[in-house]
């Protein structure tokens, strides 16, 4: 859920953009990260651990911990907490370690 009124901050969210999450069309904003856009729509399970396949979500949100790896526009292992959302982006839950597209 988005915070509409905040006592201290004003949020400059940028332009409304559309993106695809596991094929489903969702809305977000151009100034936010993929992680923020997903959380705003209630998605917090971002992927699975490569070996035990346990669900994974965010942990650090600043690009340190690698807990938020997803496949973005076919590219695996993208840290979505530090990657800005773009119009038409394809964001997918990743299974396994991912394969770098050739």
């Amino acid at each position: 859920m988005r915070i509409t009124e905040h006592p201290v901050r004003q949020f400059e969210r940028g332009d409304l953009v559309h993106f695809f999450y596991n094929g489903q069309k969702l809305e977000g904003y151009s100034n936010e990260t993929i992680a923020a856009a997903l959380h705003a729509t209630g998605v917090r399970r971002l992927g699975h651990s490569p070996e035990l396949h346990r669900p994974r979500g965010l942990f650090c949100a600043i690009g340190n911990c690698s807990s938020c790896f997803m496949t973005v526009n076919g590219q695996p292992n993208v840290r979505i907490c530090v990657t800005k959302l773009e119009n038409g982006m394809c964001v997918e839950e990743q299974r396994g370690k991912g394969v770098v597209p050739t």
């Binding site: 009124e5 905040h6 006592p7 201290v8």
Partner: protein, 166 residues
């Protein structure tokens, strides 16, 4: 114990409370700041130099209650939101408690707010006498509540959001 609960004890408060005679004279500041931390905006901002911290900014502030005019400048500057202005000079059974507030929505003057003590416990619905908005940079608002005088040393917060019109 303050260190394990976050709630100052009667003894803690006794050390920083303005004297009864001073409270009866007009608004005065009370700094509920009990721990030595490196901080001095209250002293630096006081227009009448009533707050003393000194060279070592880790010292706790002491307020000269005779110099203090209760203007509330320090209340809006204190990064810890630990300063309150108390006025027991109204000549009736009420006192005014002015407190820092950083939640939304703000109440409007004339509305009633649920007043809380230092543990967040409900003390009752009391009238909001005044709301002073912080400027666009400071953003700390101050709320003035009219409370029974015996609660002037208890009321330290209002519950945000649920305000009554009477």
């Amino acid at each position: 114990m303050l260190i394990s609960t976050g709630i100052p004890t009667k003894e803690d408060l006794g050390r920083v409370m303005p004297p009864v005679q001073r409270l009866a004279k007009g608004p005065v500041a009370m700094a509920e700041c009990f721990q030595k931390i490196p901080c001095n905006p209250c002293a630096a901002s006081c227009p009448v130099n009533a707050i003393h911290i000194g060279e070592d900014i880790n010292e706790c502030p002491t307020i000269d209650f005779d110099l203090c005019t209760g203007c509330g400048t320090c209340l809006t500057k204190c990064p810890g939101l630990a300063i309150f202005i108390i006025d027991e000079s109204r000549g009736d059974t009420t006192a005014l408690v002015r407190l820092p507030f950083e939640y939304l929505p703000l109440p409007e003057a004339g509305q009633y707010a649920m007043c809380l003590d230092r543990a967040g416990k409900e003390l009752g619905w009391f009238k909001v006498a005044r709301v002073i908005r912080g400027n666009s940079r400071n953003l700390t608002h101050t709320i003035c509540v009219e409370v029974p005088r015996e609660l002037s040393m208890e009321v330290r917060n209002i519950r945000e959001g649920s305000y009554r019109n009477g």
